[in-house]
């Protein structure tokens, strides 16, 4: 056992972080927000070509030497590290669906994909991110296990004002056409991978919330000292970190387990736990970050609100908390748990 990142993994992580700091720093982020809703950028996908060229979407695709469509042949372990970074950078777009479509449905470079799962009545409108910009839509049916693909133009939808300015949403109206079957792709696996990658985005975002809160608390003075010297602020920040790091460990461990071929039942419990904890770390972290910023956090200019709004979006993407909690509860009663150390600890 060695849970530390390998040198290659560290290189991947720092390389992507540096790329994103250069290409999607505070100014570019603000410009994207300013452009959103103006119509100018709604169909655009900020940074898409750069990320595609950097291999974000094709990390897990098998290598095919000399061919443009070849991937890097890496695993979910590397993918979650990369998605932590794009989550941290607040890069918008249907990142997860695009990665899934690249890996499982041969989506060509520089294109974007969406994903749409029918949900039970009463769980709100059926929403698709950036519909007009998509090349393809994946339709996983986790009951039959089948995945179908659909041309976005086949959907009737209307634009909605999304709560996150960088996540424009379209509401599907009327029935979703059947689409074409995608043979060889398992809907459950697709959903699980999407859930895990979304959890990685949340972990990155939660980490940014900690760093942003701490940075502000060191610099902002009230009552003659940095507010970060007040125990109330210190404890808010400490709890933010204490939610983020276990979630990060859970996300990475689930990815490592997936790459190592952990059985599906066990893996789905690990992924459910990772997403649930990552959602909590991100949503509560962004909330606390806003609280640390006081009035400044309530302004549009301060960017803090973007963290919270994006965390809400990811929380609503792929497995949501009630669904994950049920998977976890079910996992507690898998045979063999009554004795011994139980499930999950065992895979060592």
């Amino acid at each position: 056992m060695d849970f530390r990142l390998t040198d290659d993994q560290i290189a991947l992580q720092t390389g992507l972080r540096e790329l994103l700091e250069g290409r999607f720093g505070p100014e570019r982020l603000r410009a994207a927000v300013a452009g959103a809703g103006s119509g100018a950028d709604d169909d655009g996908l900020p940074l898409w070509s750069e990320l595609s060229d950097a291999g974000l979407f094709s990390l897990r695709k098998p290598e095919r030497s000399g061919q443009r469509e070849g991937g890097l042949g890496l695993g979910l372990a590397e993918a979650v590290l990369a998605f932590e970074e794009v989550g941290r950078a607040l890069v918008p777009g249907p990142l997860v669906a695009t990665e899934l479509a690249t890996v499982h449905a041969s989506l060509p470079p520089h294109r974007a994909a969406g994903l749409c799962r029918r949900q039970p009545a009463g769980r709100g409108p059926l929403l698709v991110e950036r519909l007009p910009a998509l090349a393809v839509l994946l339709l996983p049916d986790t009951l039959t296990g089948e995945v179908r693909s659909l041309s976005p133009s086949a959907l009737r939808a209307r634009g909605r004002r999304g709560v996150d300015p960088l996540t424009p949403l379209w509401e599907v109206q009327g029935p979703v056409p059947d689409g074409e079957p995608l043979p060889g792709v398992d809907a459950g696996r697709l959903w699980a991978e999407g859930t895990l990658l979304t959890a990685a985005l949340q972990v990155g975002l939660a980490g940014r919330a900690v760093a942003t809160a701490v940075g502000y608390a060191k610099q902002r003075e009230q009552f003659g000292q940095p507010i970060g010297a007040f125990q109330a602020v210190q404890h808010l920040c400490a709890d933010m970190l204490a939610r983020t790091e276990p979630a990060r460990a859970a996300v990475r461990a689930a990815a490592v387990g997936a790459d190592a071929g952990v059985p599906t039942a066990e893996l789905s419990v690990e992924i459910a736990g990772a997403k649930l904890l990552a959602d909590q770390a991100a949503v509560r972290g962004a909330r606390d970050c806003l609280q640390v910023h006081g009035g400044m956090g309530f302004t549009w200019e301060a960017d803090v609100h973007l963290l919270l709004k994006r965390a809400w979006v990811y929380e609503g993407s792929f497995a949501r908390t009630p669904e994950s909690a049920e998977v976890l509860a079910e996992g507690l009663s898998v045979a063999g748990l009554g004795h011994g150390a139980g499930h999950g600890v065992g895979h060592l």
Binding site: H235, A238, A250, A272, L332, A341
Partner: protein
């Protein structure tokens, strides 16, 4: 990132499992928790078995008589013994996990020869004399005084929360040897023989109703200067050095125990119908996620320690999360048990046969109240995370 055993780790695990499978059926059941002499016998007998089988001091350096195992192997030891239901370290806790490593790191060759073998073989039991009535979270405020007199220190004062004091042979003792120096610079680390004249042990009853701890009263107790480990007035550093021996493994076995308890609780809820309550059921699921992640955090911290680095996101983050999760586990147990949460199990052994009482969830709930207090309150842990991990400034003079 690799969570699978290396071949060496797998071999160690296999050997340990085999051995546990062989010896555990012979281990007697634990004695009445109030029968201290019997507890000492039980705990040290288990230590002797470990010693004879080459598992004593798994994580100690070889030159100190230990097995020189890697932190990862030590984690396997903690995991497998807990899974198999082996006896808890019990009366050997302070010696094996605190005083021993301190002497191994800071003691003279003679001190190591004198005290380490007895700890490893279970022959001698140690207790800890650190906290005082006026020095809890603020340990450096300790006031127990040691005055040099020839080749002895004359020690006077009192200590709190001394576990196993009733049956200990030795006590690792922090005393103030320089009352004029800054708080952290006038402290020394002594080995106190518990049978020395002037030592009085008074059992301390906890809210559980049992006397797991004691108060220690020291009235002009003579301790040889030769029993001082480290330099005079350097005891604070000596104590801090020891903590680094944990290398991410503190409470690791307890995480395994909590996961087992949670699975048992889920089974109980299924049997008594509480499972039908979706709020309760999902809370069990959420807690499962938290303990699962805590185990991953342990693995991370241990891996970092093994690599010689700072242990992952740090022991304080782990301690904070674990303490709260464990308390919530037993609060949730109370919700599952309903009115059963208002009674304690009948038998002294904590078993009365009825579902949901035999394991004495109520006593464990009471016990769990100490987790956010002992070994650094959650408030102190948050201070540490904020100031040492996140680099926030110390509170000023506003």
């Amino acid at each position: 990132m690799d969570l699978q055993d290396t071949p060496a780790e797998a071999e160690f695990r296999r050997g340990l499992r085999d051995w546990l499978g062989k010896v555990l059926p012979d281990v007697p059941s634990p004695p009445d928790p109030l029968d201290w002499p019997a507890r000492r016998v039980h705990d040290t007998a288990w230590q002797r078995r470990l010693y004879d089988a080459g598992y004593a001091g798994v994580h100690w350096p070889r030159e100190a008589g230990g097995q020189g195992a890697t932190p990862a192997e030590y984690l396997i030891f903690l995991e497998e013994t807990e899974r198999a239901g082996a006896p808890y370290v019990g009366a050997n806790f302070v010696g094996l996990l605190h005083a021993g490593p301190t002497i191994a790191a800071e003691g003279t060759p003679e001190q190591r020869r004198r005290w380490l073998p007895g700890i490893l073989s279970g022959a001698e039991v140690w207790c800890q004399g650190f906290s005082e009535p006026g020095a809890g979270s603020d340990l450096a405020a300790l006031r127990t005084r040691a005055v040099r007199d020839g080749d002895d220190y004359v020690v006077t004062g009192s200590k709190l929360w001394t576990s196993h004091a009733e049956v200990a042979d030795w006590c690792e003792l922090l005393v103030r040897t320089d009352a004029t120096a800054p708080r952290h610079r006038g402290i020394s680390w002594l080995v106190l023989p518990m049978d020395a004249p002037g030592v009085t042990v008074r059992p301390l009853r906890t809210l559980i109703g049992t006397t797991e701890f004691a108060e220690l009263f020291l009235d002009e107790v003579r301790v040889p200067v030769a029993n001082r480990v480290g330099a005079e007035n350097d005891g604070w550093r000596v104590t801090m050095v020891t903590l680094s021996f944990e290398r991410g493994t503190a409470f690791a076995g307890e995480v395994v125990a909590c996961r087992r308890a949670l699975a048992e609780l889920a089974g109980l809820a299924r049997r008594n119908g509480a499972w039908e309550d979706s709020g309760l059921r999902r809370s069990l699921g959420v807690l499962s996620a938290r303990f699962g992640a805590l185990w991953r955090l342990v693995q991370w911290n241990v891996s970092e320690a093994q690599g010689g680095g700072v242990p992952g996101p740090g022991a304080s983050v782990f301690k904070l999360c674990f303490s709260e999760a464990r308390q919530e586990l037993y609060d949730l147990a109370a919700a599952v048990l309903g009115s059963g949460a208002l009674v304690l199990a009948d038998g002294a052994d904590g078993a009365d046969g009825a579902d949901g009482a035999g394991d004495d969830w109520t006593a464990q709930r009471l016990q769990g109240l100490s987790y956010t207090i002992a070994a650094g309150t959650s408030q102190i842990q948050r201070n540490i995370v904020a100031q040492r991990v996140l680099g926030l400034p110390k509170p000023g003079r506003a």
